[in-house]
């Protein structure tokens, strides 16, 4: 929706090219672009002003005017300052010396506290802790039920003596929960509280009462990464009201630039510990300041893409597929699932658009018919399970029926089958370590595989390095590219 900062700055830089030295006016022009970009990313205005002020100071100093490429040096400064404010080195969750560690969550309505509570509990459980979830949101209809259901899914006990919906005293619940945790030796207690607006005194008092009683080791402020300018007053209200020791950002799987992160980090000075990136309960990550900085500056598209791909083709899945291919068990059913995973990432054109320097390729892509994927999917979906698993049973009359069922022609069915057989062969040879044949259609996942290829290269970019170490895998053996969808 917005021009990326990099494309806007490259315009500005064009006029600066050849200049060995930046004047104050040049710097101001660059800073105006940065200001606009930050505002479009929803960084609060006052935070932007202070930020630009400090950048200006550094930019006017020696380090820029003596730099080889002064304009880019400015972006470098902006990026490093952003990373610094977002929490140079993120600290880890603080645990109590004598258990139970008490973690209290607070935040606005709809920021995602209850879901986050469950995600955190799951994470801690994996870390060999024995968490107890406590349902202190007795306000929102069925918030208690929601926590119970989530608790069940991750097999973490939920303490919920009241059914909620306005009934019960949350302070009392918190008190009993701590006693229960001590009695039953839970190592961590996670207290979910009711959402409140920053201006609701009564609800804020309730949060304060709970806090005073449970004396939390961490008071995590949960905020929606889509929050706008109001992030400042919300963060202030919570900090002055109940106080906070750390921040968790939610809904980062959306397309928001997430400027609220910078606003909240600046205003509260509290570290951002977690980012929450999806609806499934394992979608929680340790916060990466560098990635967030790139995202706010709208330069992090590549990383986002990698993450998206990683999520779509999760490692285990990829491994399973690779094994199937190697043992000649890759079926049309698997292929269908792969297609659906690709579709999850959005349109191919959209994916290509996210990659820098892909402009030219994108033009070629414009001729690519996205509907082809739908048609392929329709053909496979018109097959019986037997046909999907053993394509060789597909005789003439079956093919006629499939063509009819999918609204395509027998020729199209035949073409798909041909491509499937060819690709199966190619993939098999690749899975066995054979040479990589030229792909008929350069699908983007190939590019994504790059960081993996460079494994061991230890990229200078810490985010890239992290991505590498996480083993971002897109198996080149996967069928996506070999099926010639574009043909």
């Amino acid at each position: 929706m917005f021009d990326s900062l990099s494309s806007r700055l490259s315009e500005t830089f064009k006029s600066l090219r050849g200049k060995g030295r930046l004047t104050a006016a040049d710097i101001d022009e660059t800073l105006r672009d940065i200001r606009k970009s930050l505002l479009e990313a929803d960084v609060a205005l006052d935070v932007v002003k202070a930020f630009i002020g400090s950048i200006r100071e550094r930019a006017l100093g020696d380090e820029v005017s003596k730099a080889l490429n002064p304009a880019q040096q400015i972006v470098q400064i902006v990026n490093s300052e952003l990373v610094k404010i977002l929490g140079g080195d993120t600290r880890r969750l603080q645990f109590a010396k004598t258990p139970p560690t008490v973690i209290m969550l607070a935040g606005l309505q709809g920021s995602g506290k209850t879901t986050f509570a469950a995600k955190l509990a799951r994470l801690l459980k994996q870390d060999n802790q024995t968490p107890l979830l406590v349902a202190c949101d007795l306000q929102r209809p069925n918030a208690v039920d929601q926590l119970k259901v989530l608790g069940e899914k991750i097999a973490v006990p939920v303490f919920a003596p009241y059914e909620g919906n306005g009934v019960g005293n949350p302070v009392e619940v918190a008190k009993q929960a701590i006693e229960k945790a001590k009695r039953e030796q839970h190592s961590v207690v996670i207290v979910d509280t009711a959402g409140r607006t920053g201006v609701d005194q009564e609800m804020m008092q309730q949060a304060i009462d709970i806090r005073n009683l449970v004396a939390p080791d961490e008071l995590i402020f949960v905020i929606d990464s889509m929050l706008g300018q109001d992030a400042v007053s919300v963060a202030k209200a919570f900090q002055d009201g109940v106080g906070l020791s750390a921040v968790a950002l939610t809904k980062l799987d959306g397309d928001t630039r997430g400027g609220a992160a910078l606003s909240v980090a600046t205003i509260t000075g509290a570290p951002i510990l977690f980012s929450s990136t999806g609806e499934s309960l394992d979608a929680i990550e340790v916060f990466h300041p560098d990635r967030m900085a790139s995202r706010i500056l709208n330069m992090g598209d590549v990383l986002t893409l990698i993450e998206q791909a990683q999520k779509t083709f999760d490692q285990e899945e990829s491994k399973k597929i690779a094994e199937k291919i190697a043992s000649d068990q890759f079926t049309l059913q698997d292929f269908l699932e792969q297609l659906q995973q690709v579709k999850k990432m959005g349109s191919l054109k959209g994916i290509m658009g996210m990659m820098p320097g892909m402009g030219k390729l994108k033009q070629d892509l414009d001729q690519f018919d996205e509907k082809q994927i739908d048609r392929t999917q329709a053909i496979i979906q018109s097959m019986t399970p037997l046909e999907r698993n053993q394509p060789r049973v597909l005789n003439g009359s079956r093919r006629v029926r499939i063509a009819k069922g999918s609204g395509t022609t027998v020729t199209e069915v035949n073409q798909l089958m041909q491509r499937f057989e060819q690709s199966a062969k190619v993939m098999k040879s690749m899975a066995k370590g054979g040479p990589m044949p030229g792909s008929p259609f350069p699908m983007p996942p190939k590019k994504i595989a790059k960081p993996e290829k460079k494994k061991g290269s230890k990229s200078g970019n810490p985010a890239k390095r992290a991505a590498e170490s996480q083993g971002i895998v897109y198996q080149p053996k996967q069928p996506g590219s070999s099926f010639g969808l574009g043909n």
């Binding site: 929706m1 606009k36 069925n142 799987d253 999850k344």
Partner: protein
Amino acid sequence: MFSFLRKSRNSEQAEAVELPTRTITSAIRSLFPKKIELEELEDILIRADFGIEASEEITKELRQQASKLGITEDSQLRVLLRDLLSIKLTRADSELNLKSETFPYVFLVVGVNGVGKTTTIGKLAKWLTDGKWKVVIGAADTFRAAAVEQLATWADRAGAELVRPQTEGQDPASVAYQTVERAIVDQADIAIIDTAGRLQNKQDLMDELNKITRSIQKQASVSEVLLVLDATMGQNALSQAKSFAEAASVTGVVLTKLDGSAKGGIAYAIQQQLGIPIKLVGVGEGENDFAFFSPKDFATGLVAS
């Protein structure tokens, strides 16, 4: 204040239901607790989430008008700005589509996670049942844990019928279909269908909305597709509105959580840039805490001294 004079299909008499006196004027916090300073207007609008472009545009226009009319006094500037905002926000199509006389009306409610879809439906249903309307609510949010229960609580409060998914994780399109079916069989006036929250960049989930719409259209036409937006959100709300408009042909926006400290300036950009009317606003958690969007009230609240 909005009077509701639409006759329920089952009642002899037209029922006039008036919305609770709560207007948004009192809920919205003024942009100018002190004096209006023209120099600071742009910054103040940006802080209220109007976005850079709109803030610049409004500031420029107000300056021009003020100098043309020779206005410098604070109270006059407030009136000038109020009228400017109010005129820009006024549209012919900002009323709910409850006039077509083809029963049942079908409302589909969509939006990202946590914006207040379920609460909005509860309030809307309560208001309609107060007007002696027969309301069927469809729980097509089959994804979020306990979403159906949350909706059931609201349906109870409103005295509306609830169509639940029959199995866990049932296809939302089929729940939508069954909801409309029930509304037709029971001669209800309106079916309101809740959907799971979805982020606008999840293409497969956005496609699902299209499927839900088609399943409704097998039996009835869709009267409103209401996109619920959270007033505390920033510029991303524009991206949301754009994507949902493309995927689900949104006919109106519900702006929730205006009772907090957020001003909801993004509503302005959405109407201006995308041409989608704001129809309802939510101003609290109570069942009566909502109002029809009135540009004049909204503008009056923003410039109140």
